[in-house]
């Protein structure tokens, strides 16, 4: 790899204050522009890992580096701008009274004002195809629209890496398709945490399996999904009738 990787995690371990240890030495590297799926059973530590990427949780051991910048108190504002996390429930993410204010929140917190701010907001909304909904309150939108706005709130910060937590959950097939189109059109590094294996195959050439707090597999998505023994070992199951090799 010639350029600096977007994300580099080395030997990351973490235990919650109550003593429960969730991560046991995670190693992973994401090159710039890659789209990678992070798979794993419930309780594997996926969410814990995600919360380390922008410094909400601080590593008990090991390091997280974003575009060459170590995650730590010193660069927190910069890190949080570079790592855009889209949380699972868009209602948690869209906390401002209108779509426009919500998308503007991050850039405004970083000091942007006036026409420059308006331009950033308009561009982020256009990228997810929600330009005409700027003045609506979030609770008047459909779930799929809210999820796309949630993506826009993060894109407005021009992140280095986009982290999505279960992006396809609760979406109807059409919304799921629309979101896929949006994600494919972006030129940022994407880390997608998901249980939706066909979605991972559709969008991410590469997949990681996080199991019991470590990366248990790392390779092309098609190969991983086709390895029955590996899949069973980590409690991963394909939907009925779905054969990864047969999808073009």
């Amino acid at each position: 790899m010639t350029s600096t990787p977007s994300l580099d995690v080395r030997g990351l371990a973490y235990a919650y204050p109550d003593g429960h240890q969730a991560l046991f030495g995670v190693d992973l590297t994401l090159g710039r522009g890659e789209r990678v799926a992070l798979l794993g059973p419930n309780g594997a530590g996926k969410t814990t890992l995600v919360l380390h990427l922008n410094g909400i949780l601080t590593a008990g051991a090991g390091t997280v580096t974003v575009a060459g910048l170590p995650v730590g108190r010193k660069h927190m504002a910069e890190i949080r701008r570079k790592v855009g996390i889209v949380f699972q429930d868009p209602d948690d993410q869209l906390f401002m009274p209108t779509v426009r204010e919500d998308v503007a929140f991050g850039p405004a917190a970083a000091g942007l004002r006036g026409a420059a701010l308006d331009a950033v907001v308009a561009r982020a909304l256009d990228r997810v195809g929600m330009g005409e909904y700027a003045d609506r309150p979030p609770h008047h939108l459909s779930f799929g629209q809210r999820r796309r706005v949630a993506v826009a709130t993060v894109l407005a910060g021009e992140p280095e890496i986009l982290v999505l937590d279960e992006p396809s959950s609760n979406l109807d097939p059409a919304s799921r398709r629309e979101l896929a189109d949006v994600l494919r059109s972006l030129d940022v590094t994407v880390l997608m945490v998901t249980h939706d294996l066909p979605y991972a195959l559709e969008l991410c050439p590469r997949s990681l399996i996080l199991s019991e707090g470590v990366i248990a597999a790392d390779g092309p998505t098609r190969e991983i999904l086709s390895d029955e023994e590996l899949m069973t070992r980590h409690r991963l199951e394909l939907p009925y009738g779905f054969v990864p090799g047969s999808v073009a």
């Binding site: 919360l51 922008n54 909400i56 504002a77 949080r80 701008r81 790592v83 855009g84 996390i85 949380f87 429930d89 209602d91 948690d92 993410q93 906390f95 401002m96 009274p97 209108t98 204010e101 503007a104 929140f105 991050g106 405004a108 917190a109 970083a110 701010l117 309150p137 979030p138 609770h139 709130t153 993060v154 910060g157």
Partner: protein, 253 residues
């Protein structure tokens, strides 16, 4: 803030009153109500003129009279209190239709009814012509502390979400054949309230995470700072300024 309330009180429209900046309207309503409250109750004519002023505002805002009158229902508990006054207040009494009523009590009832009604009507007009969000922005521009503004914004944003959760829990209870009928069922309802609190609190924590992830450090970026023009201020303050001389006249007269 059930969806119902928020949306029933606001009437979408494009009148000159709708277009006024929210903080000028808030200041105008507050000024008007202050003038009304200060007016001596004996000046019955002044109250009639105040009502006429409000009717003028309603006409400009194209808010139908019936709408305002229906919202006055919010006052009913105190109307009842006012109705009692002529019977309980001591003092000189008079006889109306064979019933003995106290004169100071009648004046007291009139005082509460007139001022209370004008106050509610003014507030209803404000709420009918201003969107929820703008009202909060208006409070912010009038100097409400930022933390209170934030709390109020979150309350508005999540009022619907939480009332929806409450409604879903109620549907879930009823689909399992539970119908709250009396004191015996308080336990179940309180458990729901407890669960609702836990959900609300946990959502608060998640929202905080999402905010921090986008660079929140304890203060909200102040957006949308369009100061009101002099003409807008003049338009809004026309209401209290028209009422003020009436009040002064009543005080002196």
């Amino acid at each position: 803030m059930g969806a119902g309330h928020a949306h029933r009180l606001y009437r979408r429209g494009d009148s000159p009153v709708h277009r006024l900046p929210p903080h000028t309207k808030l200041a105008a309503v507050l000024g008007f109500v202050l003038v009304v409250v200060t007016t001596p109750r004996e000046a019955v004519w002044a109250f009639a003129l105040y009502a006429a002023l409000l009717a003028g505002v309603a006409a400009r805002a194209r808010v139908p009279a019936g709408f305002v009158l229906r919202r006055l229902a919010i006052e009913i508990p105190f109307v009842a209190f006012a109705v009692l006054m002529p019977f309980v207040v001591p003092g000189e009494s008079t006889t109306v239709l064979g019933v003995s009523l106290s004169v100071p009590g009648l004046w007291g009832a009139w005082n509460v009814l007139a001022k209370g009604t004008l106050g509610v009507a003014a507030s209803v007009l404000l709420a009918a012509t201003t969107e929820l969000r703008d009202l909060v922005l208006g409070l912010q521009r009038l100097g409400l502390p930022s933390l209170l503004v934030q709390i109020a914004s979150f309350m508005i944003r999540y009022g619907d979400v939480i009332t929806d959760e409450m409604r879903r829990m109620s549907v879930a209870r009823r689909s399992r054949g539970f119908e709250a009928r009396g004191v015996r069922h308080w336990g179940v309802l309180a458990k729901s309230a407890g669960a609702l609190f836990i959900r609300s609190y946990e959502r608060g924590e998640r929202v905080h995470l999402a905010m921090v992830s986008r660079g929140y450090t304890g203060t909200m970026p102040l957006l949308d700072e369009r100061p009101a023009t002099r003409a807008q201020w003049a338009g809004a303050l026309a209401l209290p300024l028209a009422a003020l001389p009436l009040c002064l006249f009543a005080l002196l007269g």
